[in-house]
């Protein structure tokens, strides 16, 4: 669905369902350089099981007009203005990687409007290596290779994809090939620069779920577990076989954890 935020075209996947004010709303926020379609299976499930879903494309990503937003705080504020534009008073937010920091900031900044947050493939601080940042700044293919290889568990290229017939590395590279120059660097820099995790964590009072992949090479589980300890109310689910791309590598286990969280 296309709509306007700040006078620019924005897009959110809704599972082809009309918005129903009586239903709870879940916003899905993607990670660096990616878009709404990473949430395909999970967002579709909730769209057909009693929820309004808005799997957004952040500005400059997927179908949403640019430019990309330069900080996690700006992305969180955009999510809130997106909810305003859709006249949605309250929502839960599910975020992956960079999107998890956006979800956390939203909950900290708008405690009355954010009901629950689920943080997937996350860690804090979310530092990015100099080599990765430098390659992304130059729009060098090496940055897309790092995003692809570190963005999945090490066994992914030699293992089976739960989604029949699909090649996860190829899919990631094809997505990144569609990205406008500078967007990946923008996102990685925003993650690297984000320093508000402890402050935001202290403000968040809503239920929080962490879903971490034990084979995550991008945000290792050690970092995610330390992050979870900053939010005493948080529940943590660790998926043994998954790397950073939880929604693709372990789609059913990720969905099951989300279903349990939203049913509670």
């Amino acid at each position: 669905m296309n709509f306007a935020v700040d006078g620019r075209q924005a897009f959110a996947y809704t599972a082809a369902q009309a918005h129903a004010p009586a239903k709870p709303t879940i916003v899905f926020v993607h990670g660096a350089g990616l878009d709404h379609s990473l949430w395909g299976l999970q967002s579709r499930y909730f769209g057909y099981h009693g929820c309004n879903v808005l799997a957004v494309d952040l500005p400059g990503h997927g179908r949403s007009e640019g430019p990309p937003l330069a900080s996690i705080g700006a992305m969180a504020d955009w999510i809130v203005r997106m909810l305003d534009a859709r006249t949605i008073r309250q929502a839960s937010i599910v975020g992956h990687s960079m999107g998890s920091l956006v979800a956390l900031e939203c909950a900290a900044r708008q405690p009355a409007r954010v009901e629950r947050i689920a943080l997937l493939g996350t860690g804090y601080p979310m530092k990015v290596s100099e080599a990765f940042l430098d390659a992304a700044k130059r729009n060098d293919q090496a940055a897309y290779d790092m995003e692809t290889i570190w963005g999945h568990a090490a066994q992914v290229p030699l293992g089976g994809n739960p989604n029949p017939g699909m090649w996860m590395y190829g899919d990631m590279l094809a997505r990144l090939a569609r990205l406008a120059p500078g967007v990946l660097y923008n996102d990685l820099k925003a993650c690297d620069a984000y320093a508000g995790g402890a402050e935001a964590g202290a403000k968040v009072k809503c239920p929080v779920l962490f879903i971490l992949g034990r084979r995550d090479q991008m945000t290792p589980p050690k970092s995610g577990l330390a992050f979870a300890q900053m939010l005493p109310q948080a529940r943590t689910v660790q998926l043994a076989s998954s790397g950073h791309a939880l929604m693709a590598e372990a789609p059913d286990a990720t969905l099951d954890a989300l279903i349990e969280f939203f049913r509670a």
């Binding site: 790092m146 699909m166 899919d171």
Partner: protein, 430 residues
């Protein structure tokens, strides 16, 4: 600091798509010889049907053994994914049927496998899809033939049987400037000799019956998507960018982005046309792929030996192989196919049709049959077999003469191949 590395081709050929079976620890790919899969409960069933969960429902749509083959070929080609089909022809049909309706138009190379020529030139015409054929080495003719209703440009990486090299970078530029995808038949080259997506192709398919299998025991095809073509931006493919009433009003591009083409091809094409691959076939083709990187260098090496032998034999009018300096696409082949131009080529015997017949009947090691890409060396006379439906004029356009003989060089001792050919050439000139 060096960045992370992708697994090499040889490793992917052996491993991509399969972890040891979690139920049994089986290292080899298990053959899941089953039509269907038990649902955990009613909600699980509904979720699978509505694409809320990953998994298998019915083996016409997907099967775990077939999925290993699909993922492996996608990995070797650098695509987002693949769909295995009942044959190479089924793969071509699936691509066309996914992208086109009656009233659509294709611009194709005129140097094609006879079966593809039949499908495009005759059969699809009955269903309202027309094709204009142009010479593969003429990107400007591809451009000129594009109409408002054109939906696809198509050619073979190496044309059959003249081995015209498709100028993929130039033809893909023509296609993309018109908002169209380029589909290539990569059967003759395999991903070991060339990865067409790296040169600009958007979709490709293989007759897996040939070099991928390599053993000549299984018929199959694989259709692969690069995921790089932007269907939404093109605006010409409502099949992928508008709600589809046949699947809960799904907009495939919106739903899945890079996977839109394969999603519709699987959810509509396999569902409704049903030209799926059997799990045993997938297993057999996987056995071949595991040695593709070992077989292809040998195929190419032996082919070079045979080409040199024939080119210097007085009974031979000419040899058509792009590595020979006289081939019109020699320079392009050096650029696009530095590892070799495959193991299928043709030559023209002196003495025409009758000499051709004597030659084929005198061969002992080469098998006279309608296939290529086998571990065994093969021979055929195209004018009377694979291209027999084509008129003389069309044959000439495709570079085929009455005395043209096509060879597929196998993995036998090259000395035995030369001896067999030498004996048959003498017989041909009697």
């Amino acid at each position: 600091m060096s960045g992370p590395k992708y697994p090499g081709f040889d490793t992917l050929a052996l491993h991509a798509g399969q972890s040891p079976d979690p139920a049994t620890g089986s290292r080899a790919v298990p053959i899941y010889q089953t039509t269907s899969y038990v649902f955990r409960d009613s909600e699980h069933a509904a979720s699978l049907f509505n694409m809320e969960r990953a998994g298998h429902v019915y083996s016409r749509i997907s099967n775990p053994t077939v999925a290993v083959l699909e993922e492996r070929v996608a990995a070797l080609e650098g695509g987002v994914g693949a769909i295995a089909t009942a044959s190479g022809q089924a793969a071509l049909h699936l691509a066309v049927a996914t992208l086109m309706d009656a009233g659509s138009h294709i611009v194709a190379s005129n140097s094609l496998y006879g079966g593809s020529h039949n499908l495009l030139g005759y059969t699809l015409r009955r269903f309202g899809i027309e094709t204009t054929f142009v010479a593969p080495g003429t990107p400007e003719k591809f451009a000129k033939a594009i109409r408002p209703n054109t939906r696809l440009l198509f050619g073979e990486t190496l044309g059959n049987p003249g081995l015209e090299v498709l100028d993929i970078p130039a033809v893909s530029r023509v296609a993309h400037e018109a908002g169209l995808p380029l589909l290539v038949d990569a059967t003759f080259t395999t991903p070991w000799l060339m990865q067409p997506f790296a040169h600009g192709a958007d979709l490709l398919y293989h007759s897996a019956t040939k070099f991928l299998g390599g053993h000549g025991v299984a018929i199959g095809g694989v259709l692969v998507d690069s995921g790089r073509f932007d269907w939404e931006k093109s605006g010409k493919f409502l099949q992928l960018t508008a709600p589809y009433a046949g699947f809960h009003d799904m907009d495939f591009e919106e739903e899945s982005g890079t996977r839109a083409f394969l999603l519709r091809a699987r959810r509509e094409g396999l569902r409704d046309f049903g030209a799926c691959m059997a799990p045993m076939t997938a297993f057999q083709i996987l056995q071949g792929i595991e040695t593709l990187h070992l077989r292809m260098p040998r195929h190419v090496q032996s082919t070079r030996t045979v080409v040199q032998f024939l080119a210097s034999n007085p009974a031979v009018e000419k040899v058509v192989y792009p590595e020979l300096p006289g081939h019109p696409d020699h320079a392009l082949a050096q650029k696009l196919l530095p590892k070799g131009c495959g193991a299928v080529f043709s030559f023209e015997l002196k003495g025409g049709r009758e000499a051709g017949k004597r030659f084929i009947e005198a061969l002992r090691v080469f098998s006279h049959l309608a296939n290529v890409g086998d571990a065994k060396s093969l021979v055929i006379h195209p004018a009377s077999t694979t291209h027999y439906r084509m008129s003389d004029e069309d044959l000439k356009k495709a570079g085929i003469g009455a005395g043209t003989v096509r060879l597929s060089i196998g993995l036998e001792d090259p000395e035995d191949l030369l001896q067999d050919l030498g004996r048959a050439l003498k017989a041909a000139q009697r």
